[in-house]
Subunit: 137 residues, 2 copies
Amino acid sequence: MAQLYTVSELAEHLGVTPRALRFYETKGLVRPQRCGQRRVYTHRERGRLALILRGKRLGFSLKEIGDWLDLYDADPDQREQVQVLLERVRARRTALEAQRADLDATLAELKAIEHEALDHLGGWDRSTNKVSSSGET
Amino acid sequence: MAQLYTVSELAEHLGVTPRALRFYETKGLVRPQRCGQRRVYTHRERGRLALILRGKRLGFSLKEIGDWLDLYDADPDQREQVQVLLERVRARRTALEAQRADLDATLAELKAIEHEALDHLGGWDRSTNKVSSSGET
DNA sequence: CATATAATTGACGTATACGTCAAGAGTCCT
DNA sequence: AGGACTCTTGACGTATACGTCAATTATATG
């Protein structure tokens, strides 16, 4: 059941290098078990690494991602810490929602540019391009 | 009408340092006019810099942002280039929409963590916290 | 058992994005 | 004219996030 991975196996799966995984470990982001001196990654580490990579895609630093991960495995029995957790989660959400506003604004502008370009192509060249329905938001 | 800025003025307005603005110039992202040897920023440069900073907030490198900016001032009379433009705009949109998916997934998880935390606080402690309506998406 | 294979820990190198002096040079004020 | 500012261009320093050897070491296989 509990699938185990070597560094290079997991790195392969995640599309990164073994070096990256070891680096994240030195930064305290993951703590794989050891079999002798070899690293052994479990499902849990894989999940954490998925979160790390997503954080990176969102433009956060490894340090920020580290704080981030703490939110996922905070001890729910420490009432005092749950308060702190809550505020940090909310701060994150605020930041992320601001980021989404940036993102949506940018997407809107790109759509505008796209339509301008299509207009300038003299009508709708449906043979090679089609305008996206753009029904999101 | 056309407001002009010195480096430090504009930097102040944008919440960055003059050094950053000069750095962006060496990278070809902005090309302020000169009055003698002093830099003079216009409304146009201010707009570009706003785009640059937004790109940074979204986690893009200055090089990516540079390519990005080209999309905004491409020559619409060069049909061939408009084709290229279209594809690049669409590639950007694809990347950004993937990023938004990451973002929304993360926000959803944070909301879940937030609610768990609230539950663990033993009911709804409305005196110090209130649960967000969370009516998005 | 000898060797090929894969992993380990340093140590050093690199690209990005600036920060931080340093040494002029132009501008304004009295 | 002499400061006091502000700007200018280097030049060097720094933090982040790894890449790239190098020298071992452990494991597997013929």
